[in-house]
Symmetry: C2
DNA sequence: TGTCAACACGAAAACGTTTTCGCAAATAAA
DNA sequence: TTTATTTGCGAAAACGTTTTCGTGTTGACA
């Protein structure tokens, strides 16, 4: 058991002052070569490392980033987190993660907890409940305190800060046009409640594409599934009662569930019904047939978010940078679940 | 922009000393009711919250836990992390995550970074390279410094600390016996390089089961796949050249890959070949047929690891607790990929 | 020999807390 | 009225750094 050594310990052992030790280790030329060598050797031998907490207190910066995500078991958030962690680590930052579990209360508690000095800035994706209640005072207060925030994916226009989003509208439109160009007419959308900004955008993209191609919009071809519930029966009913030859799903799970049920109902994918999902996760890559899907480039998104945040935190110029919204271009990955 | 308020600010505004403010807010009865009320009201109005960093420095504890995992995109680690975060948060701890990317160098760097005061203890699963090189001095040094460590899943007997593991051997044995009891004779194992302790245990479980039932062990029925590489051709070749009626895979990806290739080769799952995998992730739940699999209860594992760590960190008794190894009992979840 | 600069180092403040101890004033007891 | 006790509060140290400023010693130069 050899506990951590401090500047004071070194100073005492070598009968010099703490200031001298500190300067010597920073190679200050205020200190003679002899003394420096002696101190450095001692420090090295005892494996001295400055205490991060003391540094944080002194410098008023922790080199920690707080990340709040609704759920980590979802592939998309996991990859975004990966990107954040990667970029942050390269830049010497650590990442403290809290999971809001789609609850605004947890989001608030976690953010307040971390905001009291533990982190220098936040990266977050809004919880479902936060979006539903449209309640952002916790974010506003933190921004007011001068704590920078970067929102990604689930964002809101109510808050002025840096953001990273997907071109959801355009890519949904592209997906639907892919259906149209391969001959589909009765195109369905399987989506979540509309308080999710991303689902809304994808819905608009879907509608826009139909309009642009003069296809009549049938409201009953839009299936809204409750969030995180058992919904096999809803899906089954939907495909039994509607004539559909293509379906766009706003996430991977919905897509796989649809495919599985469609196949059980005796239809062929993609010949009878084509499917496109969102999120290029393992489900999409290993299903039979493999799923045509929208790659959201989560890792890139995470890196960008981290870069935006760190740039702002380390900003030194006199003029404050205006807030940016970066758009990540999704890619449609064509595989076996659609006709190509 | 209203920056964070400190004890000093309150003291100045109210013309009392910092000590008085501190005591008043802690409801000390050294302070008169009048003064306390005044101070509390002021603090509440300005939303005073003590600075975590200052507290950490004072108390010599950060209430942060460092978690080092080889990879977060893998479902198992994600769920373990989930469990850690959940339990830690309940107990008022935050979680700093670093991803070692299966590299010992990153593992070392990250741990040293965090060990300089940022965290009170570690929870980690060893990187592949660390297990391969059998190099644990970084862990030993941290333990020497009095920093508690809990290892989970990928552990080593070289290090004395608290651990949480799966009963890999027994559950592998149970899986193989399930094959045997349903009539399989030629049982294959698809595994990873043997420096992974978990793969080794599962291999022993496999071998034990065969021995116990007087089934001859055929070394060529054991397929060792390189870590994280494209290995479809190896798998194809394996099933073309060997007569197999059941296969145990040490992870979910291998199991899905095998199932996909087996089906492509024209075999029926489970009638021609049964499959059991490890990790009850979404792949297993959404494949066709659904995969019989070993549920590792990652979330529980994470909770247990966090509990072990926090108990040790908050340990106050005079006698030091001996190190514990908790064993999580895996569960065989029987689904369509095996005969039941 | 006296003056000045350069050199090498130390004292102290600061970051924001908590906590021990001391001390004056107010009250109670003698 | 004197003494003892309580009450209410402040000063200061401590946690581990960094950094500014001050200061004693040395050597060079006039």
């Amino acid at each position: 058991m050899k506990p951590k050594i401090t500047l004071k310990d070194i100073a005492n052992e070598l009968s010099v002052s703490i200031s001298t030790v500190s300067k010597a280790l920073k190679n200050s030329d205020e200190i003679s070569k002899d003394t420096k060598d002696k101190i450095k050797a001692f420090a090295k031998f005892y494996n001295y490392r400055p205490n991060n907490i003391a540094l944080s207190l002194k410098n008023k910066r922790t080199k920690n980033i707080g990340v709040i995500i609704p759920d980590i078991v979802h592939h998309f958030f996991t990859t975004v987190f990966r990107g954040i962690e990667k970029y942050a680590n390269e830049k010497g930052y650590n990442v403290i993660v809290c999971i809001s579990d789609e609850s605004i209360e947890k989001e608030v508690i976690n953010m307040e907890m971390l905001a009291n000095g533990s982190i220098d800035g936040f990266i977050l994706s809004l919880s479902a409940e936060t979006q539903l209640k449209n309640e952002y005072t916790h974010l506003k207060e933190l921004l007011d305190q001068g704590i920078p925030i970067v929102l990604f994916d689930r964002v809101t226009s109510e808050i002025e800060c840096d953001k990273v989003v997907l071109n959801d509208n355009e890519i949904a439109r592209e997906a639907v046009e892919h259906f149209i160009s391969t001959g589909s007419k009765n195109i369905a959308l399987v989506t979540t409640e509309k308080y999710f900004n991303v689902s809304e955008s994808r819905r608009y993209g879907y509608l826009d594409a139909l309009k642009a191609h003069n296809i009549k919009i049938e409201e009953n071809l839009i299936l809204t599934l409750p969030h995180d519930m058992e919904n096999d029966s809803l899906i089954t009913e939907f495909f039994q009662h509607n004539k559909v030859d293509a379906v766009l799903c706003v996430n991977e799970i919905f897509a796989i569930q649809c495919m599985s049920i469609i196949q059980e109902l005796g239809f062929n994918v993609p010949n009878d019904i084509s499917i496109i999902g969102f999120t290029d996760g393992i489900l999409s890559r290993f299903s039979v047939p493999r799923l045509t899907t929208v790659a959201q480039h989560g890792e890139l998104m995470g890196e960008r978010a981290a870069k935006l945040l760190i740039d702002r935190m380390e900003w030194v110029d006199e003029v404050e940078e205006p807030f940016k919204t970066e758009v990540i271009n999704a890619t449609l990955i064509k595989r076996g679940s659609s006709i190509n």
